[in-house]
C-alpha cells in the first residue's frame, strides 16, 4: 500500500490468483509418495455473500460447465450454505487431477462473473496413513497454500490443531507448493463438510 493510498484510506482490491492452484496437481505426487497422504476425493471452494437468485443461476451455469467438461472422469458437485453464511461448492472425484482442474475452472468462472472479491479459499482434503484428515487450503487473495491438521483424536469442542505437523508438512512441501510464509495467515476452517 502506497503512501497516498494510506493517506486517503484507499485500498487496492487484492488481485485474485487462481493460477497457482495448479501447483497442487504436481504436489499431490510428492504428498502421496513421500508423506503417504492420499486425497479423499473431495475438494471445495468457499466464498461469501451471493444472494440466492444470482447464486441459483451461477449454480446452473456451473453444472452445465461440469457436464461439458466431465468426459472421462465424472466430477460430482454439491453446494450449500454453512452456518457462518458462506457458500460452498464441494466437488468429488476419484481422479485428483480433474478435481484440481475443476476447482480452477470454477474459480475462473466465479472471477469472470465478478465474484473475485468474494472468493475466500479453496480446500483439498487428504488423509494420512492413519486415516486422519489433513487439509491443504489455498488462499486466493495471497495465492498461497498452507496445511491445516485438526487434532482429530479429541472430540471435544476445544478445536485443537496439530501445529507441529502443519509446520512439518509446510517445511517438506516448500519446493512443490507456493507456501504461505506468514504464519498469521494460517487460518483454520472448522466444522468442515468436505
Amino acid at each position: 500500500m502506497g503512501f497516498f493510498d494510506a493517506l486517503f484510506g484507499r485500498r487496492k482490491p487484492v488481485p485474485v490468483g487462481p493460477e497457482r492452484l495448479f501447483a497442487m496437481s504436481t504436489a499431490q505426487v510428492a504428498l502421496e509418495s513421500d508423506q503417504r497422504l492420499e486425497p479423499t476425493g473431495d475438494a471445495g471452494i468457499c466464498f461469501r455473500g451471493i444472494a440466492s437468485g444470482p447464486f441459483g443461476l451461477l449454480q446452473a451455469d456451473l453444472e452445465q460447465l461440469l457436464k461439458m467438461a466431465g468426459k472421462d472422469e465424472q466430477v460430482t458437485m454439491k453446494s450449500f450454505e454453512d452456518e457462518l453464511n458462506y457458500r460452498w461448492f464441494v466437488f468429488t472425484s476419484p481422479d485428483f487431477q480433474s478435481l484440481v482442474a475443476t476447482i480452477h475452472i470454477v474459480s475462473q468462472t466465479l472471477i469472470e462473473k465478478g465474484y473475485d472479491t468474494q472468493l475466500l479459499f479453496a480446500i483439498f482434503a487428504f488423509k494420512n496413513a492413519d486415516g486422519k484428515p489433513i487439509y491443504w487450503i489455498y488462499n486466493y487473495k495471497r495465492g498461497t497454500f498452507y496445511p491445516f491438521v485438526p487434532q482429530s483424536d479429541s472430540h471435544d469442542k476445544t478445536r485443537q490443531r496439530n501445529n507441529p505437523e502443519e509446520m512439518r508438512l509446510a517445511t517438506v512441501m516448500e519446493k512443490e507448493l507456493p507456501l504461505e510464509k506468514d504464519l498469521q495467515f494460517w487460518y483454520p476452517v472448522w466444522d468442515l463438510q468436505v
Binding site: D34, N163, E165, M167, L183, Q184, Y187, V189, W190
Partner: protein, 320 residues
C-alpha cells in the same frame, strides 16, 4: 550405534560452532586488550578489583541457581507434587544421558522455562505454570529438551566466564571516581597540579573501559544467541522432532506478543476475514539493532533453522 555415516542433520553445525569460536575469540581479545591498556597506564591498582570480581563471580556461580530460582519465585516440586512433569523430564534426561535435574515450578501465566546450575549433577529446570497449561505435551517436551541441552552444553559456566571480565570493566568504570585519585594521582582536586600525564591517562582508561564494555556487551549477547541456537539444535536431536520445538516457539511468541507476534491463528478463516480488513499493515517487527542487543535470536530465525533440520532429516530418510 550404527557404523555408517550419520545423516547430516545429526552432525554438529560447523558454521554455528565457527561463529561461536570467533565470538569467544573476539571477546577474549577485547579483555586482553583492555588489561593491556590498564597495565600500560597503571602498574598497580586493578589487582584488588580483579580479586573483588573473582569473588563476585564465584558467589554468582555457586549461588546462581538459588538466586535465579528465588528471583523468579520458583518453587522446587517433588515427584508427588508434579508426577507428570517429573516423568516427562526423567524420560528426556535418560534420553540425553543426563542425571535427572531437580524440578521447579513458577506460578505465572507467561509460558516460559529456564535451566540453571553449575554442572550436570547439580542442575535445576524451572517451568512456568503458563507453559504447562498452554503448551501441548509434545511442545512442552521440546521446550524442556531445550533447557536440558543448556545443562549439557554447560551454558551457565560458559556465560559466567564470558561475562566475568565485562563485570571487571564495569566495576572499574563505576569506581573510577574512587580509584581515580589513587591510580593516576591526577584526578579531582589534585588534577592540574604538578602531575601532568595523570589526567590524560585517566581519560584514556575511561574511554578504553567504555569501548571495551560496549564491545563485550554486544559480543556476550551474540554468544548468548549462538548458545540458544545450539540448545534448539540439541532439543531437536533429543526429541527427534524439530517441528515440535518450532511450533512451541511460535506458540509462545504468539502468547507473549499477541497480535504482533509470530503465531498460527486459532480463529476460523471465515470469522477472521472481517477482522482482517483492519489489519492490513503488519505489526512492526524488531529491527537489526534490536537483534544485536538481545539475548535470544528472533523466533523467525530459530524456526527457520529448525525447519532446515526437519528438511535434512526427511531428506536423509529418503536417501536411505
Amino acid at each position: 550405534m550404527l557404523t555408517r555415516n550419520r545423516p547430516s542433520w545429526y552432525k554438529p553445525d560447523n558454521g554455528l560452532a565457527a561463529r561461536m569460536v570467533l565470538t569467544m575469540f573476539l571477546l577474549g581479545a577485547i579483555y586482553v586488550g583492555f588489561v593491556f591498556v590498564l597495565q600500560y597506564f597503571f602498574n598497580v591498582g586493578f589487582i584488588p578489583l580483579l580479586l573483588i570480581a573473582v569473588a563476585i563471580a564465584a558467589i554468582q556461580f555457586f549461588f546462581s541457581d538459588k538466586i535465579a530460582l528465588a528471583s523468579m519465585g520458583a518453587k522446587e516440586v517433588s515427584e508427588e507434587e508434579a508426577p507428570d512433569l517429573h516423568a516427562m523430564i526423567a524420560r528426556l534426561a535418560a534420553q540425553a544421558n543426563l542425571p535427572k535435574p531437580r524440578i521447579a515450578i513458577i506460578d505465572t501465566n507467561l509460558p516460559n522455562a529456564f535451566a540453571t546450575g553449575r554442572s550436570k549433577n547439580d542442575a535445576v529446570v524451572a517451568v512456568t505454570t503458563g507453559a504447562m497449561r498452554e503448551l501441548p505435551a509434545p511442545e512442552l517436551e521440546a521446550v524442556l529438551a531445550h533447557e536440558l541441552t543448556h545443562i549439557i552444553n554447560r551454558d551457565m559456566l560458559v556465560m559466567t566466564v564470558a561475562t566475568f571480565f565485562s563485570m571487571v570493566i564495569s566495576l572499574i568504570v563505576q569506581n573510577m571516581f574512587w580509584f581515580g585519585g589513587g591510580f593516576g594521582g591526577g584526578y579531582g582536586r589534585r588534577s592540574g597540579n604538578n602531575n601532568d600525564g595523570g589526567g590524560g591517562a585517566i581519560i584514556i582508561v575511561i574511554l578504553a573501559s567504555v569501548i571495551a564494555y560496549v564491545a563485550s556487551f554486544i559480543l556476550i549477547r551474540t554468544l548468548s544467541r549462538y548458545r540458544e541456537l545450539a540448545a534448539d539444535r540439541g532439543a531437536a536431536l533429543i526429541t527427534g522432532a524439530p517441528q515440535n520445538l518450532a511450533s512451541a516457539l511460535v506458540h509462545i511468541d504468539g502468547i507473549i506478543h499477541g497480535q504482533g507476534g509470530v503465531s498460527i491463528p486459532k480463529k476460523d478463516f471465515r470469522q477472521a476475514e472481517a477482522v482482517n480488513a483492519l489489519f492490513i499493515v503488519p505489526a512492526l517487527k524488531g529491527d537489526e539493532v534490536a537483534s544485536l542487543f538481545s539475548t535470544h535470536p528472533s523466533t523467525e530465525e530459530r524456526v527457520a533453522r529448525l525447519n532446515e533440520m526437519q528438511r535434512q532429516m526427511e531428506q536423509a530418510h529418503y536417501n536411505g
